[in-house]
């Protein structure tokens, strides 16, 4: 999750630059996280809730600190989350399937 937060931060920072942060990097890290969660005995639904908690924490903290998130930034955050969850659940399902033989 710390790596995901760094990647979201870089994505937001570089969004309008000539060299935007590659979404594929988020996917690669999320796939590795999906495998970690299989190793830790977590179900595929817990993978989703894991990332959902990050979204909730960011929006709640922003509210508490009166730091409004504009729509464009919210979209970017959700795009990163969707990419991460999609790759994490795909890897979770793949590894689980392989281990069950």
């Amino acid at each position: 999750m710390p790596l995901f937060l760094t990647q979201v931060s870089e994505t937001l920072r570089l969004e309008t630059s000539e060299t935007p942060f590659p979404t594929s990097a988020i996917g690669i890290a999320a796939a590795a996280h999906g495998k970690e969660l299989v190793d830790g005995g977590y179900s595929v639904s817990q993978v989703v809730h894991d990332y959902g908690d990050v979204c909730q924490a960011i929006t709640e903290l922003a509210l508490e600190q009166k730091a409004p998130i504009n729509v464009k930034e919210f979209h970017t955050l959700n795009r990163c989350l969707d990419a991460a969850i999609a790759e994490a659940v795909t890897e979770h399902a793949r590894v689980t399937s392989l281990r069950r033989g």
Partner: protein, 192 residues
């Protein structure tokens, strides 16, 4: 800017939201696959969400059940597990886009319920997709995964303090755990 309860906003723009999700889906899938899937995914979810936002009881179980149906549909039509994530993600984006376009402000609590319900739906859809694949290999694993998902969804709602442990969500958690226990204690069939 107009402050509108989310259930009124969704009720007023339901068809537009579904149309936007359909458009996004069409960018990823062949058009012939759209109709049967969208009817059991986003529209069903929106109806459950409106019910809860209107002040009804939390629709945790109904949202998860509908999403599971959708996850099974996705699997049967050959879609990857990630499609469940992207479809509900499209809806989140459609709601926020349309709110901006119509100068509508949606309250933080409504947004929190929307996000929590979407997480439950995504989790239900991907679990059912994974379960469907497991079922082809092992029926008992499939049953356990379904029960584990029910327990996880109920626990997440309880953990976030949205509902009390003595209510229907607590009962779902208790029932799921008891069923898992019974399943694991059941005498194993010995192959002939």
């Amino acid at each position: 800017m107009v402050n509108v309860p989310l259930h009124e906003f969704i009720g007023a723009h339901r068809e537009e939201l579904i149309a936007r999700c359909t458009t996004e889906l069409a960018k990823r899938a062949a058009p012939t696959t759209i109709a049967p899937r969208i009817n059991h995914g986003v529209p069903f979810f929106l109806d459950q969400l409106i019910g809860e936002l209107r002040g009804g009881a939390p629709k945790t179980e109904d949202v998860v059940k509908g999403a599971r149906t959708h996850g099974r549909e996705l699997l049967l039509q050959g879609f990857a597990i990630a499609e469940g994530v992207y479809e509900y993600g499209d809806l989140r984006r459609a709601v926020t886009d349309l709110a901006v376009e119509t100068d509508t402000v949606i309250g933080a609590e409504d947004i929190r319920i929307l996000n929590r319900s979407l997480d439950l739906a995504i989790a239900g859809a991907v679990t059912q997709h994974a379960c469907g694949q497991a079922a082809a290999r092992d029926g008992e694993s499939h049953d356990l995964l379904i029960l584990l998902d029910s327990a996880t969804a109920a626990f997440e709602a309880l953990r976030k303090g949205q509902v009390g442990v003595g209510g229907s969500t607590g009962a779902i958690l208790h029932r799921s755990l008891a069923s898992m226990h019974a399943l694991l204690d059941r005498p194993k069939r010995i192959p002939a």
